[in-house]
Structures are given as structure tokens and as C-alpha cells.
């Protein structure tokens, strides 16, 4: 794998590389950038879901009724890919219960409910500050991990997990924010640029990156200016600001890396494979807060916007605050409010109620109104006319039309062959489709079906494996038994032969003994002098005596 050539990296003002496809979208960003970020007043009750991030749910560390302090860890990371959650206020754990929270499934999850005592008492904090340069990457990563920091661009992947220090040359800070309406990163960059730069330096220190590039879409001149000024204030030479063209989805990690470096992150690979690490600007700011103020991720900037909101603006909101309260704080819904979306209009999630907590992933609360957003009214779409517009705009360079065909036919094998899983669900294809085909929904449907099949296959694989294992085990047992029997038999036969040998020995001994006896006898016979050299009379007498004995025997037998 080749390293990025230094000449490939562009400096401020230079034109960038481009990725295939993408679309220009109406921004609607002005709506929420008119007023500075405001602090959402504290609430009486906070609902903190354990599963606000990608990966495993955290492990609960508190119990109902327990008093907690602001910034106290409520649940610790469980497993490698997991994140901690903290109490945004001091107070009491009211309950640990199932509560609905913003999630594509619409299902409830374990949440810790905190009752605010309004004392605002912090847990004991030991900020590291500028001394972070003397601390090892490993220790800093642990701090980031324990601060519950996740990617705030929307994917909410635990930040510490990807902060590898092996072979990273370039840190890219993503300030692109390409989705329409969302301005939370824009406002953060305008107002808190210094913190972002400090955060970038901390990350660069952790991952031992040689340089940092801060990418900002060129429709945010104020943010570019603020960040550029902060960089020059800081004086770092290896931090550059790069404006990138306003084209959706240039804020997608892989697309942005292509724009900045000209290199593509390999399929099934990670940015680290091409020596790049990408973090959102808000993540960088949160890391700065964790190191310099020992403040875990307990609040974030949320854009509350859309024509369905009376007074759109950006709020700094504590995690766990009710969405309803946030919207009320921005003047509430307008009369023609229509749909509530968490995130942007291209990839956001519609919510069917606002009685949900703000979570780490809540970058935007968009309320549409009237024809604010052109949702196709009819569920019936036209047939695909193969116009190829989807192919032209696909940032992953796929053939969306073919994928649709296979997904609709449930021909999942071919859908996978046509790289369905490289689809990032950005929605460009569906946006341009003149037949109004809900392409992304088809892909999601196909993906979930394939996952389901995969699970089934795994299950049956496991079952088959189990069966095979059982057969193997039985076979093994049989063999073992046979082996044991054989051993026994062998042992027996061995015994037998040894007994035979013994017998032989004995027999031999007996035979020997007999032979000896016979010999003795014969010797004795030879030595029996009284039967030797007998006279004929004596022999006669013996004969007579023998005959008498015979007679007597006969007599007795009779």
C-alpha cells in the first residue's frame, strides 16, 4: 500500500480532487445560523440511553436511588467497541428502565433516568491541560474512552477505537457538514475554533500524525475564516485549512478522504490503510474538553431548524434532554409542521414522537412544514426507465439501477455481486430518480434480508456443525471404546500367552522333575541290588509271588 504522496495533499485555496457522482442540494443553512449557539436551560429529568453509539451497550455502574454527580460515569464501556455514558447533572438515579430513544428500530432500550437536583455539583476532575504532550497515546486514548467520546458527525463510532497510532500520516478534521439544514458544526467552528484546533493537536499527538487538514465546505466562509484565524493564532505549521466544493456527500468519510488526498479507502478497508484518520470537528472539540477540562461528553450542539420550527437556531443541549423541550425552547412547532427528522433530510431518521431524549448522535432536529421537503406523496412509483441518472450521481460508483433490479427481484446473490454492501445509503440515486423509485429503501430491504439469510445460514451452519460435531464425538467415543476393548483384549491375550508361557515353564519344570524322578528311579533301579544278579530259584519265587498277587487281585475283583 502506497503512502500518500506529499504532493497529493493540497493547501488552502488550491483546488481539490473529486469523487465520482454527488449532487448539489439546496442548503437552507441560513435558517439556523442567524443567532449564536445558546445554552439549553437545564431540565428536571434526563433520560440517558446506554446505547447511543455504534457497538455494545455500556455496563451500568449505578443503581436506582443512588446520588450521582455531574460528569459521573453511569455506564462504562463494555467490550472493545463500546462507549461510556455520564450524568449531565448532579442528582439522583430515578430509575433504570426501558425507554424509547431515537433509533432506526423505533424500539425501546435500557435508559438511566436522572432527576436533577439543580446543585450542579461536579464529580472530582483532574484536567490534564497542556501537559498532554508528556502523556502516552495509550493513556490519552483511555481518557477519551472513559469520557464516552464518539464520532459526532452522525456515525457515533467510539472515537478512541479508531485512534490507532500505527502508520497514520494525516489527520483530517471533517468540518464539511454537507447535508442541507444542519449547521451545528458550522456554528461550532465559528464560535469555538480554538478548542477545535487544540483538540486536533491532541488527536494528532495520540495518533502521531505528521499533519492535520481541516476540511470545510466552501459554503461556510465564516467557519473557514474563524478556523484559519485560530490556526494562525495557534501557530502550528502542520495544520492546514482546506475548503472543499459544496457537493453532497462530500462529508462522507471516504468521499472526503478522496477529495483531500486523491486516494480511495479500499473496499472492506479502513482509512488507516491509506495512512489517514478522519474525525469530525465536534469530536475534536469534545476531546479538547475532555483533556483540558476533564469534561466527558455530556452535551452537544444541536441544530433545531426547518420551516416547521418557529425560531430555528443552534442549541448546546445536555445529552438526555427531551427533544420536545428543545423544540419548545425554539418557539415550538409552526402551524404547518409536518415531519420531525433527527439528522438531515438525506440520511436522517423520522421520529414519530418528540418524547425522546437528545442523544450523542442528535446533530439536528429538522421539522418540515408543508412543501418544505418534497416527499413523494404517492407510494406507487413509475417503472425504471434506465435513464442512468442514478449511475451518474452514485458516490460509491455503483450501478444503483441494477441493484434496484436485483433487490426488487430478491436476487440477492447478484445484488451482492454488484457490490450492494458498498452502498453508503446517501440517497443521491433516489433524489434524482425521475421514476420516484425509493431506491435506498429497496437496498435497505435487500441488505436486511441478506443479513437475515446470513444469520439463518450461520444458524444452520452452527446446527450442522453441532450435528457434525456430535457425529464426530460419537465416532470418537466408539473408537475410544473399541480401542479400550482392544487394549483389554490385547491385555487379555498377552496375559494368556504369558500364562501359557508360565504353564509351559511349569510344564517344563514338571517334565524336568519327572525326568529327574525317572532318572532317579532308573538310577535307583540300577542301584536295587536285590533284584540284580538273581539266581533262577529266586526268579522263580518272584514269579510265583507275582502270580499269587495276580490271583489275589482277581479274587478281590470278583
Amino acid at each position: 500500500m502506497s503512502a500518500i504522496k506529499k504532493s497529493n495533499i493540497l493547501k488552502t485555496g488550491e483546488s481539490t480532487w473529486s469523487f465520482h457522482g454527488g449532487i448539489k442540494l439546496p442548503g437552507h443553512k441560513d435558517m439556523s445560523t442567524g443567532k449564536p449557539i445558546a445554552r439549553m436551560p437545564s431540565s428536571d429529568r434526563y433520560v440517558i440511553p446506554l446505547n447511543q453509539h455504534m457497538g455494545a451497550e455500556g455496563e451500568v455502574l449505578v443503581s436506582t436511588g443512588e446520588n450521582v454527580l455531574k460528569g459521573q460515569m453511569l455506564a462504562g464501556p463494555h467490550g472493545l467497541i463500546s462507549a461510556a455514558v455520564h450524568s449531565p447533572v448532579s442528582g439522583k438515579v430515578a430509575e433504570i428502565t426501558q425507554h424509547r430513544f431515537p433509533h432506526p428500530s423505533g424500539l425501546a432500550g435500557t435508559c438511566i433516568v436522572i432527576e436533577n437536583d439543580h446543585k450542579d455539583e461536579w464529580v472530582e476532575r483532574n484536567p490534564i491541560g497542556e501537559d498532554y504532550t508528556t502523556i502516552s497515546s495509550h493513556e490519552l486514548r483511555n481518557i477519551v474512552r472513559d469520557a464516552g467520546i464518539v464520532g459526532l458527525g452522525g456515525a457515533t463510532f467510539p472515537a478512541a477505537v479508531k485512534q490507532t497510532e500505527v502508520g497514520i500520516e494525516t489527520l483530517i478534521l471533517n468540518g464539511v457538514e454537507c447535508e442541507p439544514y444542519i449547521t451545528c458544526d458550522d456554528m461550532l467552528m465559528r464560535e469555538r475554533a480554538d478548542g477545535i484546533i487544540k483538540g486536533a493537536k491532541i488527536i494528532a499527538h495520540i495518533i502521531k500524525a505528521e499533519q492535520c487538514i481541516i476540511a470545510i465546505e466552501d459554503n461556510k466562509p465564516e467557519a473557514i475564516e474563524a478556523i484559519t484565524r485560530a490556526v494562525s493564532r495557534d501557530g502550528s505549521e502542520n495544520i492546514t485549512v482546506q475548503s472543499v466544493p459544496t457537493i453532497y456527500p462530500s462529508g462522507g468519510e471516504r468521499q472526503l478522504i478522496k477529495i483531500i488526498t486523491g486516494n480511495e479507502v479500499p473496499v472492506n478497508g479502513l482509512p488507516a490503510d491509506i495512512h489517514v484518520l478522519c474525525h469530525n470537528v465536534a469530536t475534536s472539540y469534545t476531546i479538547y474538553k475532555a483533556i483540558f477540562e476533564a469534561e466527558p461528553l455530556i452535551s452537544r450542539i444541536v441544530t433545531i431548524t426547518g420551516r416547521g420550527i418557529n425560531s430555528p437556531r443552534n442549541l448546546e443541549v445536555d445529552i438526555g434532554t427531551s427533544i420536545h423541550d428543545c423544540i419548545e425552547h425554539c418557539g415550538g412547532y409552526s402551524n404547518d409542521a409536518r415531519a420531525l427528522i433527527m439528522g438531515g433530510p438525506m440520511m436522517g431518521l423520522t421520529l414519530n414522537t418528540d418524547e425522546l431524549p437528545v442523544i450523542k448522535a442528535t446533530n439536528c432536529l429538522l421539522v418540515t412544514a408543508g412543501i418544505d421537503i418534497s416527499l413523494p406523496d404517492s407510494e406507487i412509483h413509475m417503472p425504471c426507465i434506465r435513464c442512468g441518472k442514478c449511475v451518474d450521481v452514485c458516490p460509491a460508483n455503483l450501478l444503483p439501477q441494477q441493484l434496484y433490479w436485483f433487490a426488487a427481484d430478491k436476487d440477492y446473490d447478484r445484488a451482492v455481486d454488484y457490490n450492494l454492501f458498498d452502498c453508503i445509503e446517501c440517497g443521491c440515486c433516489a433524489y434524482v430518480c425521475p421514476s420516484q423509485i425509493p431506491l435506498v429503501q429497496y437496498y435497505r430491504f435487500a441488505k436486511s434480508n441478506i443479513w437475515e439469510q446470513e444469520r439463518e445460514r450461520k444458524k444452520s451452519d452452527i446446527a450442522r456443525q453441532r450435528h457434525e460435531n456430535r457425529l464426530e464425538r460419537l465416532e470418537k467415543q466408539k473408537q475410544e471404546r473399541e480401542a479400550r476393548l482392544k487394549k483389554k483384549r490385547d491385555a487379555l491375550s498377552k496375559n494368556k500367552s504369558s500364562r501359557d508361557k508360565e504353564m509351559d515353564k511349569k510344564k517344563a519344570l514338571i517334565a524336568e522333575a519327572l525326568a529327574r524322578v525317572n532318572e532317579k528311579k532308573s538310577k535307583q533301579n540300577t542301584k536295587a541290588k536285590n533284584t540284580e544278579n538273581l539266581t533262577p530259584e529266586q526268579q522263580q519265587k518272584i514269579k510265583q509271588a507275582d502270580a499269587r498277587r495276580e490271583n489275589m487281585k482277581k479274587h478281590e475283583n470278583q
Binding site: P180, H324, A339, L340, T350, I385
Partner: protein
């Protein structure tokens, strides 16, 4: 609950939609075709107006009928069938008997479109399927040409136009001779070039003051229609450009070798139905490949094949069969020209 208003629509992303629709695209193609039709009517008279009206109406009626039979919702609203009707009419000779035109239109919709499942599912261009059918069925009528700008073209019809159904048309030579000031050979520029090596001036080809099918007249008007569609991003400009490029690639070397015998590339481009086909038929989205590379392969293939048929085949015109063949191999082209997926490494 105060948020009850915000619960009205619940669906997964994306929530944004560009407003261009299929019907809009098709309508714009019809708009782009209107000047072509108008000029054709002006040049050949009322016969062409009747011809275009017949093909379009029969196409629409057939479509409505087939939709009803197959239980699909009527697709008349998407305007695509109007394009088929107009294009079919434009590929026929001006004096083509109307009953034959009606047969062509019925076959175009039935065999070319409905049989495959309607819009989006047809393998070949329906208009050309209809045209190919009548080319085989009525070989004489489809090669009976009449000259443009005949006096009295708006007061009387070409005699063959109103041939009674299932009857063969009478020859129209005598009628043309009676009307025409100059002697009319009855040959199209392509036939003149192919069989007599007589070249037609390019200005006549550009303005369409030549004989031929109703629509293969003014290259300029056709090109303007194409530019309009390309500018509105309702047509893939690569397709017509590719066809023209393909035609030039094949015809140029022959012309350089023997300029007396072979036509010059510009003549190849402007004569016959090539321009109409390149702009309005090859660019038919349904039957063309979707891969970026495939689009070029497809267009070049059609352009080159057209010229090969014209130069070496028995026919004077080759673009129809070139497109039908191109349609046939379009899925294959798509298959072998898969683009490299983002992040995919070259297999090396």
C-alpha cells in the same frame, strides 16, 4: 400531545426529492420533436400530418388497450407512447398508406413494448420494431419516396396515403411527374450516392429539402432538438455524439482511400435517418446500457454498424438495423463494462 402535527409522515431517508419526473422528461422529448414534425409537414404536406396523427393515435389506443388487457394502470400519462408514435411516423415515407402505418403502430406497441411488460421493460426501441415489421411486410410501399415542396401539398394528399385497408398502393410516379417541375428520380440522397455516385449538396441535407422518410429531413432542426434536451439534462449527450463519432470513424478511411466511390463523412452524418436516429432513437434510455463506458461502446457500435451496412450491405439505409442490434446487445455491453467500485483495487 403537542407534537401530534409532527407525526404525520414517517418514512426512512432520504426525505428530499428532485422534482424531475419521467413524464416531464418524455414531455420534453415530445417538445423537441415538434419542430421536426412541423418542418416535415411543411415540406411534404398534409399527408405527413395524417401519417403522424395516425401512428400517434394508434400507438396511444394500442397502449391503452394493452394496459387494460394486462391489468396495468394506463401509462398514457407518461407521454412515452407519444414519442413512440411520432418517431414511428417520422421513419416512414411521406406517402406511406395510412392503414400500413396503423399496422406498424400496433406492432410497435404490441410486439415492441407491451409484450415485454410496458415502459421500462422493452428490450428494443418500439418505434423501430414497428418500422422493421413494415419494412419486411411492405417492401415496396416503404421505399416509395415523394419529393418535398410539391405545389399543392396542402390542398391534396399524396395518392398512396389513402390506400384502402389491405390494398397495395398504386404507384405514384405519374402523379409526381405531373406535379413536379423537375424530373424526380424517386431516389433518396443515400440511394443516389450508393447506386449512382451522385452526391447531394450538404446545404440541402442540412435544411431537409431532399426526399426521404418524413423525419429524415433537416439535420439542423433535429440537432437543435437534441441540444435542447441535452441542455435540460433529459438526454445523454454521449449517445448521439458516440453514434456520429462511430459513423465518422468507419467512413473516413474509405472516403480518404476512394473519394469518388465512397461518401464523405459529413454526407454520411447528414443523410438518411442517421441524425434523427442518433438524437431521438439511440438516446432512448430504456434500451441503452447504463454503465458509463457501456454508453460509449453502445453508441460507437451503432454508428459504425450503420456505416458498414450502408457501404457494404444491400440496403441504402442501415441505421434501423444497427440500433435494433445495438438494443439486443445492450445488456451484454452493460455486463462487460461494470465500473470500478469506489475503493476497489485493480486486480493485479
Amino acid at each position: 400531545m403537542a407534537d401530534s402535527r409532527a407525526v404525520k409522515s414517517l418514512r426512512s431517508s432520504p426525505h428530499l426529492k428532485q422534482s424531475v419526473t419521467v413524464a416531464q422528461i418524455m414531455r420534453n422529448v415530445v417538445f423537441a420533436l415538434i419542430p421536426v414534425c412541423a418542418w416535415s409537414v411543411y415540406a411534404f404536406g398534409f399527408s405527413v400530418l395524417l401519417l403522424l396523427a395516425t401512428t400517434t393515435l394508434v400507438c396511444m389506443l394500442s397502449e391503452a388497450m394493452f394496459c387494460r388487457i394486462s391489468g396495468r394502470t394506463s401509462s398514457l400519462g407518461d407521454w412515452s407512447i407519444v414519442i413512440t408514435g411520432l418517431l414511428l411516423g417520422l421513419t416512414l415515407p411521406p406517402g406511406f398508406p395510412l392503414w400500413m402505418a396503423a399496422v406498424a403502430a400496433f406492432v410497435a406497441v404490441g410486439l415492441g413494448k407491451a409484450l415485454f411488460g410496458g415502459l421500462g421493460y422493452n428490450v428494443m426501441n418500439p418505434a423501430l420494431v414497428g418500422r422493421a415489421f413494415v419494412q419486411a411486410a411492405f417492401p415496396v410501399a416503404i421505399t416509395t419516396w415523394s419529393p418535398p415542396f410539391l405545389p399543392g401539398r396542402f390542398t391534396e394528399l399524396i395518392p398512396s396515403t389513402l390506400t384502402a385497408p389491405f390494398m397495395m398502393p398504386e404507384p405514384i410516379d405519374a402523379w409526381i411527374d405531373q406535379k413536379s417541375i423537375d424530373a424526380f428520380s424517386g431516389a433518396t440522397p443515400l440511394a443516389l450516392q450508393k447506386f449512382e455516385q451522385v452526391s447531394t449538396p450538404l446545404t440541402e441535407l442540412l435544411t431537409g429539402t431532399v426526399s426521404g422518410s418524413a423525419g429524415e429531413t433537416s439535420a439542423i432542426i433535429i440537432l437543435l432538438g437534441g441540444i435542447y434536451l441535452a441542455a435540460r439534462r433529459m438526454m445523454d449527450w454521449r449517445l448521439p455524439v458516440g453514434v456520429m463519432l462511430g459513423a465518422v470513424i468507419v467512413s473516413l478511411p474509405f472516403w480518404l482511400l476512394d473519394a469518388a466511390r465512397y461518401p464523405d463523412p459529413l454526407f454520411v452524418l447528414l443523410s438518411g435517418g442517421l441524425m434523427l436516429a442518433a438524437v431521438f432513437m439511440v438516446s432512448d434510455m430504456v434500451a441503452s446500457p447504463v454503465t458509463p463506458l457501456g454508453v460509449w461502446v453502445y453508441a460507437l457500435f451503432i454508428g459504425m454498424l450503420t456505416v458498414v451496412i450502408r457501404l457494404f450491405g444491400g440496403l441504402t439505409e442501415g441505421v434501423m438495423y444497427a440500433i435494433l442490434l445495438g438494443n439486443a446487445i445492450s445488456p451484454l455491453i452493460s455486463l462487460v463494462t461494470q465500473p470500478k467500485v469506489f475503493g476497489e483495487r485493480n486486480k493485479s
